[in-house]
């Protein structure tokens, strides 16, 4: 062991380094190197570097990071910052430091231990930094309270001694919390926050962005400090920590101090973190997080073929069987056909029904939820007929299961559910009040029908989401507020989330939110006797949602949607659903209603896209073509006039449809042939803005007489190139007021 005195370099503290020298030379490994500056005997800086990055650590008032240089570009990620301490921890007095080198595999590690000099301060802190072949630096902090425990209370007071001391230490992380990129105003912070039932992530504040997440035990997105202008940042992926890394806003993030309390002799792992410099904005942190979550996720239940069919079913209906909408007391039967007809008229049709028979009736007598099924019209056989009729019309049927129904000790629920579902022929089980299930229950159902789908009322955590392939999203005030991003939908898009609102008058945000995130919608008008009908204008929105999400399901159902892509405006929020040959951008303008007298705000270029030159863009929600502007060789999208509502849904596609007006006819040509193609002409209802299908042409070209469209009011005509029922191209024609 070799002791090196360094005190002359440290103006405030008298610090001694204990450097533990190994027989192995660090220069021997791969490309990672560790250098002491100016020299090992008189260390002021330590440089840890590999082929891609160079970290310079300074020993001054503590352990500080002075620069992170990306070698290919020479960019210093910390340029403009003073040296930033990795962390401040401890109590009174000054410290001594010892340094130790180590190697594990391809990684070179540096451990710095901070020893207190003041006798009453008993905290010893060790920070370990490891660099491998990549740009990321692993960083660990451990703290040991060296105070010996007191066996017996001594006669003298312990106040000024170091014996038997429980230590509470305040900790801050200046590198993470104080780092500035460019200027303070252009430095943005992505961090987690905590609500009453959930965790979320936001950029600077939950007021400006809100990404709803799951359970506190699930992995969290790294904390990212980035600058959109400089297009770089550093994220901190916290793998393990005793501390609660959740913040209320940027100011809280910048100023928060954490605390830990340690008993005598207690050792605490304070932090296990990875520091990663990156190009671009916070999406680098999101991508790493998504990769991490998905690598540990069990997709077995999601890989069933039935799950693909289920993902194509966005619209559900909460069917309260006591409602006269479905039950006909005159004939004592369920009027399923009429009910489905009405659903088509009102909402564009249901993909599945959730039949609800139990609460609030359960408990009037000894019949439990399974007995009650047999008391419904026709008993189980009657229900079987209902399910068969629904299936004949392409509608799936879920049944509700109440885990709380344990009257008189009856708990053989798994067997009962399996028996009932088999008798009825149901497709899925809705797990009321639940967000978890266990494998024995699942196995009991699998034995009857392995295609049974689970859907829970509450959001599952990632572990249980492996078995639960769909869930409700019903925390309306937070989760469905616009422009909330439902992050589970972007990390595990295979999991189907249904936006569900019960007794609430205004469901507009719910519908916008469903399209914005590509979520499903649960229509629920009878909340156990509390009637909240969907008003006509919202039915129109659901119709539009229903059409768009189906026609663009090739984009909505991929596993690579991107939340909150960059745009030019602070008040505009855009998600992206890219796929081959198409990209869907649901866009939401926030705060329109806060200043209703300010019209025409959202006009002009609003975002930049990188697609081939033959792409064009259509707002399929508002039926407007989106003009393009070329700026510095890049394509910008612009709104020629402010959209009529806060939501737009822009679909980018290669231009493949040519529509020319020749006198009283439209000549339609498809430039590049598409398999299984058809042309569909829709008129847009001037009052409801809904599409009324008028003509469907088989084949890919032809001449259509405009008179055949039967237009007699101001109208738009949509010419769509469909492949099967998926949109491939669309041209919006504004034929004008009584032009014909």
């Amino acid at each position: 062991m070799n002791y090196i005195r360094l005190s002359k370099n440290l103006p405030v503290l008298s610090v001694i380094f204990f450097t533990f020298l190994f027989s192995l030379s660090v220069r021997g490994f791969a490309a990672v190197s560790l250098n002491y500056l100016p020299d090992k005997a008189n260390v002021k800086n330590i440089v840890l570097e590999n082929d891609v990055v160079r970290y310079t650590i300074l020993f001054d008032k503590g352990v500080e990071l002075t620069s992170v240089v990306e070698k290919t570009t020479g960019t210093d990620f910390l340029a403009g910052n003073p040296p930033l301490m990795f962390c401040t921890i401890g109590r009174m007095g000054s410290y001594l430091y010892s340094v130790e080198e180590n190697k594990t595999g391809e990684k070179v590690s540096l451990s710095v231990t901070q020893h207190p000099r003041y006798g009453a301060n008993t905290l010893v802190v060790t920070q370990t930094f490891s660099l491998g072949a990549g740009p990321e630096l692993d960083w660990k902090i451990e703290a040991l309270n060296t105070s010996p425990p007191v066996e017996k209370e001594p006669l003298y007071p312990l106040k000024w001694t170091s014996i038997g001391k429980t230590v509470t230490s305040w900790i801050t992380f200046p590198l993470m919390q104080k780092m500035v990129l460019g200027s303070e105003s252009e430095t943005h912070c992505l961090f987690p926050g905590q609500g009453s039932y959930f965790y979320y992530f936001c950029i600077d504040s939950p007021e400006t962005s809100f990404m709803y997440w799951t359970d506190k035990d699930d992995p969290r997105m790294p904390i990212d400090i980035f600058s959109s202008r400089l297009e770089r940042g550093i994220y901190f992926q916290i793998n393990k920590s005793k501390l609660d890394f959740s913040f209320s806003d940027k100011n809280d993030f910048r100023t928060k101090a954490f605390s830990i309390t340690q008993k005598p002799g207690e050792q605490t792992e304070i932090l296990d973190c990875r520091i990663v410099p990156h190009q671009g904005d916070w999406h680098a942190a999101f991508a790493a997080f998504k990769k991490h979550v998905r690598s540990g996720f069990d997709f077995t239940y999601y890989q069933r073929p039935i799950q693909q069919d289920y993902r194509r079913r966005p619209v559900g209906h909460f069917t309260f069987l006591y409602d006269l909408e479905i039950y006909d007391p005159e004939t004592n039967r369920f009027r399923i056909d009429e009910f489905l007809d009405e659903g088509e008229l009102n909402f564009g049709g249901y993909d599945f029904l959730l039949l609800w028979h139990n609460y609030p009736r359960l408990g009037i007598d000894q019949r439990d939820q399974f007995d009650v099924l047999e008391s419904l019209p026709g008993g189980l056989e009657g229900l079987r007929k209902l399910v068969d009729r629904a299936h004949a019309r392409g509608v799936k049927v879920f049944f509700s299961y109440n885990p709380w129904d344990i009257m008189r000790g009856r708990r053989d629920h798994a067997r009962q559910c399996a028996r009932a579902l088999k008798a009825i022929g149901g497709d899925g089980l809705y797990l009321d009040t639940m967000k978890e299930t266990d494998i024995t229950f699942r196995e009991a159902l699998d034995a009857v029908n392995p295609d049974i789908i689970y859907m829970t009322e509450n959001r599952p955590n990632l572990q249980t989401a492996a078995m639960i392939t769909g869930s409700w999203q019903e925390r309306a005030p937070t989760s469905n507020k616009m422009p909330t991003v439902d992050l589970l939908r972007f990390v595990i898009p295979e999991h189907i989330v249904y936006n569900t609102l019960r007794a609430i008058r205004n469901r507009e945000d719910l519908i916008y939110n469903a399209l914005f995130n590509g979520n499903g919608i649960f229509i629920w008008e009878d909340n156990f006797g509390d009637i909240a009908l969907v008003p006509p204008h919202e039915r129109v929105l659901i119709h539009r949602y229903n059409r768009i999400i189906r026609e663009n399901r090739d984009a909505f159902l991929t596993d690579n949607p991107i939340p909150l892509v960059a745009d030019f405006r602070d008040d505009l929020y855009v998600n992206a659903f890219p796929t081959t040959g198409k990209c869907v951008y649901p866009a939401y303008q926030d705060d329109r209603e806060k200043a209703p007298w300010e019209s025409k705000r959202l006009i002009g270029p609003f975002m930049e896209v990188e697609h081939p030159d033959n792409w064009h863009y259509v707002d399929v929600w508002n039926h407007r073509a989106i003009p393009l502007k070329k700026e510095n060789g890049k394509t910008q999208l612009l709104f020629p006039e402010e959209p009529t509502g806060p939501l737009s849904c822009i679909v980018g596609m290669p231009e493949n449809l040519k529509v020319e007006q020749e006198g009283e006819a439209l000549r339609i040509t498809v430039i590049k042939p598409v398999e299984n193609a058809s042309i569909q002409l829709n008129t847009v209802n001037n009052l409801t803005w809904m599409e009324e299908e008028v003509l469907k042409l088989e084949g890919t070209s032809g001449i259509v007489q405009i008179a055949r469209l039967n237009l007699d009011s101001p109208y738009l005509v949509l010419v769509k190139l469909m492949q099967g029922d998926v949109l491939r191209d669309e041209v919006v024609l504004d034929l004008g007021w009584k032009k014909l």
């Binding site: 007391p329 004592n332 609030p360 909340n527 006797g529 009637i531």
Partner: protein, 272 residues
């Protein structure tokens, strides 16, 4: 003084007349009925959805701020006779034997009976597993009718607004509450109402003649609470002891569901 004496004499005379009238009623074949005399009565009820202890979101039961609806009104009901006890299995069998009544949808009809008759030894238990319509059919056959909610409540609590038939304090020894089965009618004589009606709390819930629709659902208001109390979850329909001023909404759907093991009835008859 003379004046006071006159009042006392008049009161005694009226009491004698009332007693005589009761005696006449019994002698006229209403031995199983008691008289509820005409008179003013403050009718106060609280609405209940039967579940979540009144906090259920139900637009018929509570307002938008979560307050349960109540109703108070002064009534002047004419005199009527009401069954002292709930209608029994034996009485209902007499009705079936006499009329040959058969329901259109028999699912759960008298589910506890076997081979067309009630279980041995349960002739004097209240009849259950019957619809409101079947209760009404029985009443018509017996020359009676089902009580209105107002009549039921007056018979249960008298005119002093008491919460339980026997007084204001809950007493589990005075009713069949929170048990596994019905008990013979009149098993709790100490739980009698001011007019002598028995089992107005507990034993079985009782249909009243109210059958309603809000345009979206069908339901009935039932009274009195039953023997069964599923208390394992707050989402269960709350049974057991229910005070006389609670009107509880019972969701109706198929006949098989509407017939319950815990709902019976008693009848009334106008006293002219």
């Amino acid at each position: 003084m003379n004046h006071n004496r006159f009042i006392i004499q008049f009161t005694v005379l009226i009491s004698v007349l009332i007693s005589a009238r009761g005696a006449f009623a019994e002698s006229a074949g209403y031995s199983d009925m008691v008289l509820v005399p005409a008179g003013k009565f403050t009718y106060h009820v609280e609405y209940s959805a039967g579940t979540l202890d009144g906090k259920a979101l139900d637009s018929l039961v509570r307002d938008e701020r979560g307050r349960r609806y109540t109703m108070t009104k002064d009534l002047d009901l004419p005199a009527f006779y009401i069954d002292r006890t709930e209608v029994t299995n034996e009485q209902f069998k007499q009705f079936l034997d006499a009329t040959g009544y058969r329901p259109e949808w028999p699912n759960s009809f008298l589910k506890h009976w076997r081979d067309g008759t009630y279980p041995k030894g349960e002739g004097n238990h209240p009849v259950v597993w019957i619809l409101l319509a079947e209760a009404k059919a029985y009443a018509r056959w017996a020359g009676k009718r089902l009580p209105t909610e107002e009549e039921w409540q007056k018979a249960a609590q008298g005119t002093d607004g008491r919460l339980w038939p026997w007084g204001n304090n809950y007493d589990p020894a005075k009713a069949n509450m929170d048990s596994d089965c019905t008990r013979p009618v009149g098993s709790y004589p100490q739980g009698a109402s001011p007019y002598g009606c028995l089992d107005m709390a507990g034993n079985v819930w009782e249909w009243t003649d109210t059958f309603q629709s809000d345009g979206y659902h069908l339901y009935a208001w039932i009274r009195g609470g039953g023997y069964f109390n599923a208390n394992e979850s707050p989402w269960y329909f709350r049974g057991g002891p229910i005070t006389t001023d609670q009107r509880t909404k019972l969701w109706l759907m198929s006949p098989g569901l509407n017939r319950c093991a815990t709902v019976g009835f008693r009848c009334v008859k106008d006293a002219e």
